[in-house]
């Protein structure tokens, strides 16, 4: 460890923040908090809004529910606009909802770039377009989506974007990152939610002096610093391509086995995680065998999808060999569980994606 109020840390902090701006495609401030992604979400809310404020959540899953819970915990007046799990938020429906708001009472619209619980990408560009017309703040949870597909913070006018260390940044959990546009800083001045730890103005005051407000998780800063060397060498376009390819490998492999994808629409299918809806087998039994006998951990369902789906993560440090292995193992385990599939068929479909065929 090093002294986090010393000169070595100043250099690391500076380079890490510069790397974040690059990842976010922004000139806005990006600040880091010692927290999991949910702490970043809370930071976004308490720094830009006030109790009683009306906000709209375009809710497509479990993390949409989290926006609703955080906003309600702080006494905000939440319109919970729910879409079917497995589908993206429809920009037209969001636009209609905003048009109903003649008196411009809605102060912010909150949504996910990638909804981890269902494996669905929102069309952030289209959503931000309709929200900008209305004038509400655009607050995006990009914790699991950032770097897996394009996100242009400045070009799309995103006011607050939240990310976390443990996804495409490829390091352990424990850091939450939050960007603030000029409009967001103006909202900060008026925001009346109580705050100390999450106070982004206090944090910025320290960061401008090369420090952080409270003790930073130094080991994770070291990791993030190293991750940016890898990521920048690869370049944004290649990082996106890598994630898009892995997504296609998983989807084609799974479809070839006759399994049902929760996110049916290719255009909104997550570049971070794919959710699969089992037909005749128990997803929990599948996950247990995959873990115990093949050392491969698949995620289960969250919220109302608990026990109803399983999910294959394909972001960050996961690479194409692991995807081939995952589909190969999946074929074996499905057969073991009595759900007959042709061995190698899914793997072949994934290979064909790699061969561009």
């Amino acid at each position: 460890m090093i002294n986090h109020r010393g000169s070595e840390f100043v250099v690391i902090l500076k380079e890490v923040l510069e790397g974040l701006k690059w990842s976010y495609q922004t000139m806005n401030d990006v600040l880091i908090f010692p927290a999991s992604g949910s702490g970043g979400m809370e930071t976004a809310v308490v720094n830009t809004l006030s109790p009683g404020d009306k906000v709209l959540v375009a809710n497509i899953g479990n993390f949409g529910d989290r926006w609703v819970k955080i906003c309600r915990a702080y006494g905000l007046n939440v319109i919970d606009l729910q879409f079917e799990w497995g589908k993206a938020a429809d920009p037209k429906i969001v636009a209609e909802k905003l048009k109903e708001d003649k008196n411009r009472e809605i102060k912010a619209v909150l949504f996910q770039q990638n909804e981890t619980s269902t494996g669905v990408l929102n069309d952030v560009k289209a959503l931000s377009g309709v929200i900008r017309e209305h004038g509400a703040l655009i607050i995006v949870d990009a914790v699991s989506g950032l770097l897996t597909t394009d996100l242009k913070t400045d070009e799309w006018g995103l006011d607050v974007v939240v990310s976390g260390s443990q996804k495409a940044f490829m390091i352990p959990p424990g850091l939450a990152m939050v960007s603030m546009s000029e409009r967001a800083w103006k909202a900060y001045e008026k925001s009346k939610c109580p705050k100390f730890y999450w106070d982004i103005g206090i944090m910025k005051g320290f960061v401008d002096k090369g420090q952080t407000h409270t003790t930073p998780p130094i080991s994770l800063y070291f990791g993030l610093h190293a991750a940016f060397k890898l990521l920048k060498d690869e370049g944004l376009e290649n990082i996106f391509k890598r994630h898009h390819t892995l997504r296609s490998m998983v989807r084609e492999g799974v479809k070839a086995l006759g399994l049902k994808l929760l996110a049916e629409d290719e255009a909104t299918a997550s570049t971070a995680v794919t959710a699969i809806v089992p037909s005749s087998f128990d997803p929990e039994a599948l996950r247990k065998t995959m873990r115990d006998e093949y050392g491969m951990v698949l995620a289960g369902g969250q919220g109302k999808m608990k026990g109803k789906i399983f999910r294959i993560g394909h972001l960050g440090y996961v690479d194409k060999s692991e995807i081939l292995a995952a589909i190969g193992n999946l074929e074996i385990v499905l057969n073991k569980l009595g759900h007959k599939v042709e061995l190698g068929k899914g793997v072949r479909a994934a290979q064909q994606v790699l061969l561009g065929g």
Copy 2:
């Protein structure tokens, strides 16, 4: 990394929580949040108190000021009972203040076990005695003090005790731990501070199922798990003794060099960090030379002590060889800065502590 909603994590979480109870000397719940120590302090406040509540802060330094700031940020009515920096909170004065509160309006008394900024230990046992007579909740920031000297959470009736991963637990920053007594849980039921991330009831609900509310900083859990193996082998009494010995080495070494200790009273001198008040030399120049030429990082002053003191940390992974080296380096650098001291005199005094003389 492992799946934090999987069976491997269940085992680690259970063992880590058990280790924390051992460290705290408590049967109370101890919960872990992904945060720095200040997040733990905020957790203590927002889960037991409500806006408008009167609280008393026994404030002996920069982290006492932090209690005041957090409480005020949440609209609490704070009595800021300030003691001179370098001194402990006088239990008699705290008792008098509480006696003035005839209508029992003070809901909680907040203070530090160890005030890092000045290197002073409070007499937690005596303070908790007088507070128990009054009936207010006892909320203790033990972030830098826990494990450096005795703290009997249950025997002394401490309602909320906050600690952090980066001090005597010997691992990097990023975890905040918070214990809750039965009285604290009753206060939680009535508390009206807004909360989601810090909501300790939600956290407990997850922990009872072997999970955490939000994504845990897994790498730090691994570290804490390993640290408990070392700490338990050593035993609480030996851990306290080790820290007491290092404290004496630093104090005797520094005194032998004719330097002034900020905490003059041996009984309240910190077992974690020692603050030294320079006479004829600049503490910042001393710190710079120590770091640049001797690779040894000393802390500076915080808050109103900035630029007026320097501090030698002697907790956690620091051992007696490093203390000997620190005093040896200090002697050289003082001479270089024109503050003549007899070479070896401080080292000899520290050695005599080890020889029990």
